[in-house]
Amino acid sequence: MTAVVEQRMAEPVNESVTKGSLRIDDVVKIYDPDGAAVMAVDHCSIDIPAGEICMIVGPSGCGKTTLLNAIAGFHDITSGSIHMDGELLCGPGQMQAEPGSDRIVVFQNGALFPWKTNLDNIAFGPMMAGKLSKSEIYEKARTMMADAGLSGTENNYPGEISSGLRRRVEIVRALMNDPKVLLFDEPYRALDSLTKSVMHEALLEIYYRNKVTIFFITHDLEEAIFLGHRLIIMSSRPCKPKKIVEVDIPHPRDYSVLTSARFREIMSEAKGVVHEEAQKAFDAGEKEG
């Protein structure tokens, strides 16, 4: 079986970014809890050029996190392959990718270590790598915190700052390692809409300065269109691309984009597809229940 959606040839979104392209090729993931096979990802192919913000949208439980975990190397895939910059991450011969600091996940519920101060959290990756001296690492960490508007929170623990700031610390912690790809799993799900809008602009600002590839899972269409170069709308479980929506609104973007006519057009186009899939997922749930 091949993907229903025709893939456009991937081309770099920004010329200056040459690293971090992802090629997800015919990936299948079947969970097998006690023999009851659950197909979470079904022959899914997605090509993500280096430097793209690729938004993955799909109904609850369709298998988005599963796909992300496969890229990150948290579990194996059943068949297919994933390449990053032409190098095999997982595929025949090695069904599970090795997690590494070239692909860093920002988790659904956040995973800053509550027992480390913000500064220690941010210094964590380079400290583990041990390539730089401690003082170099901490100097870089302080600079990056200052750039991200986090000065003054260095010696606080994550539990002491607002959830919006925590997300920012987590992104800075990832960027400290010069990753090629950032993998976001609905990082702003728990935030209120005001904080969310600030976080979106902050994320774009970070993106413009660092130019990484971003693989971003979300439920929120507005968020998806505002941030992404492309929306990959997934079918209900098992997950595979159902429709790809190009967001041809030029970057850099700011919040005025939200009220533009083009934004609304893309929104209504995407909404139709998403609604249809959500309905399918709901009906499937009814049947199972």
């Binding site: 997690p99 860093i104 996940v105 583990m128 790598a129 929170t153 010696n155 539990g159």
Partner: protein
């Protein structure tokens, strides 16, 4: 869009960092002053007063039927604080402190041993599935055996009167510490170790930076329980084996019909036991500043 940027600004300031650092000293002060403002200290005083006056009236005024042989409040307290105690045990006699010291030393040995063995064992049990399959069933079999059931074996196994007592005290502490540590490792959210691996930590680094600190809150819950059961087993041990110690005082006073000394021993046990568990709690607060600060924010 002036409007939306205004909104954005206010959201930023709402999310502004809490940059004031809370030192542990000022935190303690803050807690004490909060405590004094709350009704709790006064309720506590009332609680103490109620129990003590019941004791006083029941024994010395109303002379209730089953209370005749009980030592009275005034008798116990005058004995306890007497320079020349009738039964030879008061805060002025060196012997009193010798009993406390010896009990404390046994608790100290047993508690340190239980912690030193139980915490690493618990960490490995939680961390390694294979290790757990070997060890845990054995552990589960031994755990329900009450300390008192170990008394004869302890006396047979160990020479002298000191080691059996320390062994008995150690046992229950060890199980409590190990079990809680293991649960602590299991309680750690998987995304923390995933994040650590993403950030390039190897297995050992993950153990050190995620597993150990992540299990810490449960470890200290375990140590609280551990110090409690240590006193419990110590007294049991001192009653059947050993010389000196608060359990020994209580037991021999009963046999020698020196009843006020029983109560002195009991109250002393309460005070010393409470102090040791308070010390464990303070150590936990010291090692887990992050938790203390989170809780302090949650309270206010």
């Amino acid at each position: 869009m002036a409007n939306s940027s205004e909104v954005a600004d206010s959201a930023v300031s709402m999310a502004a960092p809490q940059s004031t650092e809370i030192s542990s000293m000022s935190l303690t002060m803050y807690r004490v002053s909060n405590w004094l403002k709350s009704p709790r200290p006064y309720l506590m005083v009332i609680g103490f007063a109620a129990v003590l006056s019941f004791w006083y009236f029941a024994v010395e005024v109303w002379k209730l039927p089953r209370f005749q042989d009980m030592p009275g409040l005034t008798e116990v307290f005058s004995e306890w604080f007497s320079k020349d105690p009738y039964y030879g045990l008061s805060v002025y006699t060196p012997e009193y402190y010798k009993h406390i010291g010896i009990s404390l030393r046994r608790i100290g040995f047993a508690f340190l041993l239980a912690t030193g063995l139980g915490v690493p064992l618990g960490l490995f049990l939680g961390w390694s599935k294979t290790f757990r399959e070997y060890v845990f069933p054995l552990f589960e079999l031994f755990r329900p055996i009450p300390v008192l059931a170990w008394v004869p074996l302890a006396i047979i196994m160990f020479v002298g009167s000191e080691t059996p007592v320390v062994f008995l005290t150690f046992l229950a502490s060890f199980f409590a510490t190990t079990l809680n540590t293991m649960l602590g490792v299991e309680s750690i959210d998987e995304s923390y170790s995933r994040a650590a691996r993403c950030l390039g930590a190897n297995r050992w680094q993950t153990f050190k930076h995620v597993v150990v600190p992540g299990a810490m809150p449960y470890i200290f819950t375990g140590l609280q329980i551990s110090i409690g059961v240590a006193w419990f087993s110590l007294v049991a041990g001192e009653m059947v084996s050993g010389q000196f110690g608060l359990g020994y005082v209580i037991n021999t006073s009963y046999m020698m019909i020196e009843y006020p000394k029983i109560i002195i021993g009991m109250i002393t046990l309460g005070i010393v036991g409470y102090s040791t568990s308070a010390m464990v709690r303070l150590l936990g607060d010291y090692l887990m500043q992050w938790r203390v600060r989170e809780l302090a924010l949650g309270d206010s």
